[in-house]
């Protein structure tokens, strides 16, 4: 993942300074605006790969910033941050033009994984029909998975799980992101339900091959990566 230009619009200066520091440590360029008007002004100047917008902002509400950008034809991906974590708030946020929604308080790894996924989603390479990681190949149209020339039969859900992981190759994908994008549910499961699905998938695609492609990132989630390159 290359360096991204990120604009953070957040009125809590202390939280914002931790966040920008974290983003810079992760190799990105982060700007910070403290209110809705300033944020909208900076966002309009453009050049950002991702916007992180707090929902409640002084001078101009976060959702209204997004709506203003969208109505001007700006399609920069937006991650909404909000202290309101309930189901309805999420729906309103996405309806206003947000691309993803993260309830406060959140883990920094979760935020980082999500903005990287958002920026990836925004790139034109999204339309490719075959994903490749090392010698693993997933054909999205034919619904087939091959590794080193050998066909691997997968259940439909396992296929979607792998598809999502391969789409975000090289990025960290969190458990909640998987539950949201593969199962379409937005909650934090208490037991390790996702981990078990991953380990099943892993046993199918990695077991018996020379090197693993599906890695666990401690404290964050999972990533598809070919270490040989």
């Amino acid at each position: 993942m290359g360096a991204m230009r990120i604009l953070l619009i957040e009125d809590d200066r202390e939280a914002a300074s931790y966040l920008t520091r974290g983003l810079r440590e992760a190799g990105h360029v982060a700007d910070h605006a403290v209110d809705g008007e300033e944020g909208l002004h900076l966002a309009r100047e453009g050049g950002y790969d991702v916007l992180i917008v707090d929902r409640m902002l002084p001078r101009r509400d976060g959702l209204s910033v997004i709506e203003a950008l969208r109505s001007a034809g700006d399609t920069t991906p937006v991650l909404i941050l909000s202290a309101l974590g309930q189901v309805d708030d999420r729906v309103t946020g996405l309806r206003a033009g947000g691309d993803d929604y993260l309830a406060k308080p959140y883990a920094f790894t979760e935020l980082l994984a999500r903005i990287e996924a958002l920026a990836r989603r925004h790139r034109p390479g999204d339309v490719e029909t075959v994903y490749r990681v090392g010698d693993l190949e997933l054909d999205r149209l034919a619904h087939t998975v091959m590794r080193a020339g050998r066909s691997i039969p997968l259940q439909p859900r396992e296929f979607r799980l792998l598809e999502y992981l391969m789409k975000h190759v090289g990025q960290v994908v969190t458990r909640t992101m998987l539950l949201e994008n593969v199962w379409d549910y937005h909650f934090d499961p208490q037991t390790n339900v996702i981990d078990v699905h991953i380990s099943r998938l892993r046993s199918k695609i990695d077991k018996g091959f020379d090197r693993p492609l599906l890695h666990t990132v401690r404290g964050a989630g999972y990533t598809m990566r070919d270490d040989a390159r």
Partner: protein, 489 residues
């Protein structure tokens, strides 16, 4: 003197208040309606009776004239005179007067009639004043002027024959009617007063009682209830629904208080633990690696706290029904199958058999996210607490249609929950001693219950023999428009 106008205006206020009471209004309406009805009825009967009496009089007079005219034809004036005298002297006789051409009396019992009456000689009877020419008890002609209905008949030869009936009878009847009107108005007024007394004492006193009880309740005594008389009338029904409302408010208030108590107790405990951990780490001057470990553990504690907090908020919102607006068509069958698939892997991994049986379709109107969470919670619980002492653990997730409801069951074959504890485990933060060592916040079932209640359903804990069966009943959406707008996911 300022006291006098003050007293006056006070009296006026009291009077206005009195006039404005429902009892007075009702009594006034009653009075007007029933007085009107009585007057109308009596008037109607009187009018018709009077008309009947008049026509009877007419006929009598006609018959008399015909008879007398026949006498005249048969026997001339002499015979007529005799007949008239004969009839006139009977007690209670009609009125007769026979005159010659110039109006001089020949025979009859009428003393004096206005001159124009005889000249008119009309066919129809007319009421006239007259004086009776009769020998009274005191042997003197009576001088009393009375009214009568008379008819004048001109005989051949210019003689005029007047026949009439005294109107005293009809006038007496009119008096009777007027008396009846007076009496009935008095009776109606008395009844109106009785109505006022009844309405005031029986009905309005009860409304006042309700108002009084409401004031006391508003004054802060939420456990007080509105008195129910037990007669089952509309006031009892009103009082009962108000009491149900009060019970609901009371419940909500108690819930709110419970939440704050729970937060105070169950969130402060982990916060305190967290603080102590950080303090100890700070004091001990441990190595950087130790500190890193402590901080990691602290973050985990924070996450647990956040989850508890979120669950509490969600329960509060579900209980207040604040998310009902986000309802959409959901097929429970898809949802249950999704959750079964999601948990199947983890169950297998832990050596628990998970069987899923779904009856399709099961459309409900609801919040897919919350319902998904509910099923996930129940499966989490079954995995955590539903293990038998010996033998293989088995969880059954079933969805069936039961008439207008969908029945969702999560059953395990673990130790179950004793009947006496079943109501208690639904409450926030309640954890049975047997499960205290396992991780969890004690909010799972409260959340399930709140979400199910929000969807208009109910929850039942039963014995799965062995094990616990949690049954949720959710109202199925009516087919038709729902089926069309159904989204397939």
């Amino acid at each position: 003197m300022p006291a006098e106008p003050a007293a006056l205006s006070r009296a006026a206020r009291l009077w206005t208040r009195f006039i404005r009471t429902t009892a007075v209004k009702l009594s006034l309406v009653y009075l007007v309606v029933f007085a009107g009805l009585a007057v109308f009825l009596i008037g109607y009967i009187a009018y018709n009776t009077n008309a009947l009496l008049s026509s009877q009089l007419d006929e009598t007079i006609d018959a008399e004239i015909r008879g007398l005219a026949e006498q005249y034809e048969a026997g001339g004036l002499r015979r007529l005179t005799r007949a008239v005298d004969g009839r006139a002297n009977v007690p209670g006789a009609s009125l007769y007067l026979l005159t010659d051409v110039s109006g001089n009396r020949i025979a009859g019992n009428v003393g004096d009639v206005p001159a124009n009456v005889l000249r008119a000689a009309s066919g129809t009877p007319v009421p006239v004043p007259y004086q009776r020419f009769a020998i009274g008890e005191d042997d003197r002609p009576s001088e009393v002027t009375r009214r009568a209905l008379v008819r004048v008949y001109v005989l051949p030869g210019g003689f005029r024959l007047l026949v009439g009936r005294d109107l005293a009878e009809q006038e007496r009847f009119r008096t009777v009617v007027l008396e009846a009107v007076r009496v009935s108005v008095v009776v109606v007024i008395v009844l109106a007063l009785a109505t006022w007394v009844f309405v005031n004492h029986r009905v309005l006193k009860r409304i006042d009682g309700i108002a009084e009880a409401s004031r006391r309740i508003m004054g802060g005594n939420l456990s007080e209830r509105i008195p129910v008389a037990g007669s089952g009338d509309e006031f009892d029904r009103l009082a009962e629904s108000l009491n149900a409302m009060l019970a609901r408010i009371d419940d909500l208030m108690r819930g709110l208080k419970e939440v704050s108590d729970d937060i105070a107790h169950d969130l402060k405990t982990p916060l305190n633990r967290l603080r102590t951990r950080l303090e100890t780490a700070l004091r001990s001057g441990a190595t950087a690696d130790d500190l890193r470990g402590e901080i990691g553990a602290t973050i985990e504690d924070c996450d647990a706290l956040i989850r508890t907090f979120d669950a509490l908020l969600l329960i509060a919102r579900a209980e207040a029904n604040a998310t009902a607006t986000a309802f959409s068509p959901v097929d429970l069958a898809d949802l249950v199958a999704d959750m079964g698939e999601l948990y199947e892997a983890v169950a297998e991994d832990e050596g628990v058999g998970l069987t899923v049986a779904v009856e399709r379709p099961a459309p409900v109107s609801g919040n897919r996210e919350l319902l998904g969470r509910v099923v996930a919670n129940l499966l989490d619980n079954a995995l955590k607490y539903g293990r038998p002492e010996t033998g293989a653990a088995q969880i059954c997730l079933t969805l069936a249609r039961r008439g207008p409801e969908a029945e969702l069951t999560v059953a395990d074959n673990g130790a179950g929950i004793p009947e006496s504890d079943r109501a208690r485990v639904m409450r926030r933060f309640v954890r049975l001693d047997s499960s205290r060592s396992a991780p969890g916040s004690g909010l799972g079932l409260s959340l399930v219950q709140a979400v199910v209640a929000m969807h208009g359903g109910r929850i039942e804990l039963a014995d799965a023999g062995p094990g616990l069966a949690v049954r949720l009943y959710l109202p199925l959406a009516t087919p038709g428009p729902m089926a069309q707008s159904f989204e397939t996911r």
